[in-house]
Subunit: 106 residues, 2 copies
DNA sequence: ACTATTTTGGACAAATAATGCCAAAACAAA
DNA sequence: TTTGTTTTGGCATTATTTGTCCAAAATAGT
């Protein structure tokens, strides 16, 4: 059973780190950020960014697309969770993306 | 033909205003913001916010849910347009929202 | 072309958010 | 409990965003 929809980005990268038995200190220094910042990212109290996703990808050998999938789907979920037409908004976004891509081909 | 996926939030509210034959000056003053700010929102160079969406809803008698649909789907589209797995990300976000709502019911 | 009005772009100030620092809390090993 | 280490929370600093003001550009009416 896939768990991608059940765990947050923060939980996911915390598990990666704990499975590798590394303290925040080590991973944060690799990422060139403060331990405190990484701690907050793992607790979903801070946003990650390209640089951090890139670094995590390298440290744990996870595809960037996998990390971005988890990160961005989390963000979008958070943006829409309180909208009563959240799922409809997603559908329209899907149509917009398809439309835009179609246009850009020309 | 529906155009919701073809026009941006900014274009949409500009059309509302132009169809009503109102200058930026009038609408902006109703919304209690600068004309310049409204101009930028119509050109998608600035974000709208709750207060503005609320005001537009009242001025033009458009459902808030309709405006939010257009506004948020635009933002999400913009966030994902450059991701090659953008559509997959949407699918996962959909599953996450459903999962979260299921959880919250309990 | 001239004038009046609307719209836009840029400079600046205020508000908001991100980040790092550091001390305290939590945890582990003895 | 004591010592050593990891993790967290709060605060100060920095960066980003947002909004206003104002002058210039664009548009409309005569």
């Amino acid at each position: 059973m896939s768990t991608v929809e059940k765990i947050s980005f923060g939980q996911y990268i915390r598990e990666l780190r704990e499975n590798a038995n590394l303290p925040l200190r080590r991973v944060a220094s690799e990422l060139d950020i403060d331990t405190s910042t990484l701690s907050k990212i793992e607790k979903n109290e801070r946003n990650a960014n390209e640089q951090i996703i890139d670094g995590i990808s390298k440290i744990f050998h996870i595809e960037k697309s996998e990390l971005k999938l988890r990160y961005l789907s989390d963000k979008i979920t958070y943006q829409l969770l309180d909208e009563d037409n959240g799922l409809e908004i997603l559908k329209v976004a899907e149509e917009k993306i398809k439309y835009q891509r179609q246009q850009n081909k020309k």
